[in-house]
């Protein structure tokens, strides 16, 4: 099984590639609409500004094949911004439209705490999670973000707290997303990616 990594220019693509390579998975990075349309499994890493991702998806004509593939049931994993873009919109760029594959809006974390939410935090898994299978409940994951999706979403399988609760892991049908960076989260992150690979194949 080859994982197609959507490369819109995000800084964390090489780390994701390396993490998959360590797990023995084949991957190819692309920004070509037809390659996305034909993918067997999709991974969207993202880091930085929400607008950069949404604009790249639109300008490089990746939105339609991406949404189409996900709706056809192709396994999809979104990392950080790659999770946030699944929602309807984000307070980081309210005028832009997300992929609307999950209900709700991405909000800013409260300014009562230090932002970005940067570093290693624990998550609370609130129901059966396939991505977190076999990972210790007290495991830490690496976060680097100031905006996040709603924790109350029906597909949220784990939440995190930094000033407010937010979605750390979402899973619904073939759609998976994590707010943290599994490619930077040591053994726990590696295990999570392995779980996605198992689900996707």
């Amino acid at each position: 099984m080859r994982v197609t990594i959507i490369d819109y220019g995000a800084g964390n693509v090489p780390s994701v590639e390396r993490a998959l390579e360590r797990l023995g998975a084949e991957s190819e990075r692309t920004n070509l609409p037809d390659k996305i349309a034909r993918a067997g499994a999709l991974l969207l890493p993202g880091v930085g500004h929400y607008a950069a991702l949404v604009r790249a998806l639109d300008e490089q004509k990746m939105r339609e094949p991406l949404v189409g593939a996900i709706q056809r049931g192709v396994p999809f994993l979104g990392i950080c911004l790659g999770l946030q873009v699944l929602f309807e919109s984000s307070a980081e760029s309210p005028q832009l439209h997300g992929l609307s594959l999950l209900p709700g809006k991405v909000c800013a974390l409260p300014s009562t705490v230090k932002l970005p939410h940067m570093g290693w935090n624990q998550i609370a898994s609130n129901r059966q999670s396939q991505l977190l299978a076999g990972i210790d409940a007290s495991a830490y994951f690496y976060f680097a973000h100031s905006f996040a999706g709603p924790d109350s979403n029906g597909s949220t399988t784990a939440t995190c707290f930094h000033g407010a609760p937010f979605a750390a892991v979402v899973e619904t049908q073939n759609i998976y997303g994590v707010q943290f960076h599994p490619e930077k989260s040591g053994d726990s992150g590696s295990r999570l990616l392995q779980n996605f690979l198992r689900i996707a194949t």
């Binding site: 800084g11 964390n12 090489p14 780390s15 390396r18 993490a19 360590r22 880091v47 930085g48 500004h49 300014s111 230090k114 932002l115 970005p116 939410h117 940067m118 570093g119 290693w120 935090n121 624990q122 998550i123 609370a124 210790d136 495991a139 830490y140 690496y142 680097a144 973000h145 100031s146 995190c160 707290f161 930094h162 960076h181 490619e183 930077k184 989260s185 040591g186 053994d187 726990s188 992150g189 590696s190």
Partner: protein, 254 residues
């Protein structure tokens, strides 16, 4: 459930080799940043910082190659910098595999550099390194490796840096650097209180108690040290066990 306090080893390199305080027990080639990176990754470091302290233009390609080789060893975040003067320099560092870029002297001389990098990579990828030295009742920003005063107040500079788009401050006490008498808790607490972003404290660490102090009294979000880790005097795991026993939340790799 809250953010763990981070322990960050720092590799000062001449672009290619680790140059300060290296005598790592059990490493065949102690000056090799790749071997050190692999070891720290395994031992539970929360991040790694690699700096080019020579920062000579001629050695740039070598430093980028070092970043590439170090990044390949890591499953934790990597911050790199030293001599980043332009957006293009920052791009090269990120493309080589760093998650965050540090800027120091060049940002003091041309603060827009912070905004340029932040716009392109996001605030979470821009670390403003500040070398601060006490001068009477305040702290001066020092540039060119801590040798020259920029005649600027460190607290004010930290605040401006954050408003320009820095997502983190790497704060080195020039007074404490290399002394091993402990971090400058007063300086760190003052900066940490003044800004809304995480602060990494650096300079003066030797004992586990110093780390407890900088987290409890200095309000640091992360603590950085170099030689005490390199020379094997302070294994990361025992440091974290000490911190945990002192009531400080830390992450243990599983």
């Amino acid at each position: 459930m809250s953010l763990a306090h981070r322990i960050i080893p720092c590799l000062d390199t001449d672009g290619e080799r680790v140059v300060k305080g290296v005598n790592f027990v059990g490493l065949r080639d102690a000056g090799d940043p790749v071997a050190l990176a692999a070891r720290y990754n395994k031992e539970g470091a929360d991040e790694l910082v690699v700096l080019d302290i020579a920062a000579s233009r001629d050695h740039r390609p070598t430093f980028l190659e070092t970043i590439r080789r170090v990044a390949a060893e890591l499953s934790i975040p990597l911050t790199a910098g030293g001599g980043v003067r332009t957006l293009e320099d920052g791009r090269a560092v990120v493309r080589a595999g760093a998650d965050k870029v540090t800027v120091n002297t060049a940002a003091v001389e041309r603060p827009e550099l912070i905004s340029e990098l932040s716009r392109e990579f996001g605030a979470q990828a821009v670390v403003l390194a500040i070398d601060a030295k006490r001068n009477g009742g305040h702290w001066d920003v020092m540039v060119r490796g801590g040798r020259e005063s920029a005649n600027r107040d460190a607290i004010q500079w930290a605040k401006s840096g954050v408003s320009l788009g820095a997502g983190e401050i790497l704060l080195t006490s020039v007074d404490r650097d290399g002394t091993r008498v402990g971090f400058d808790t007063e300086l760190t607490a003052a900066i940490s209180k003044a800004v809304s972003v995480p602060v990494i404290a650096s300079g003066g660490a030797k004992l586990p108690e110093h780390f407890v102090q900088i987290f409890k009294e200095g309000a640091a979000d992360a603590a950085l040290a170099a030689s005490i880790f390199h020379d094997g005097a302070q294994p990361i795991r025992t440091l974290k066990e000490f911190l945990s026993a002192s009531g400080i939340e830390v992450r243990f790799p599983c």
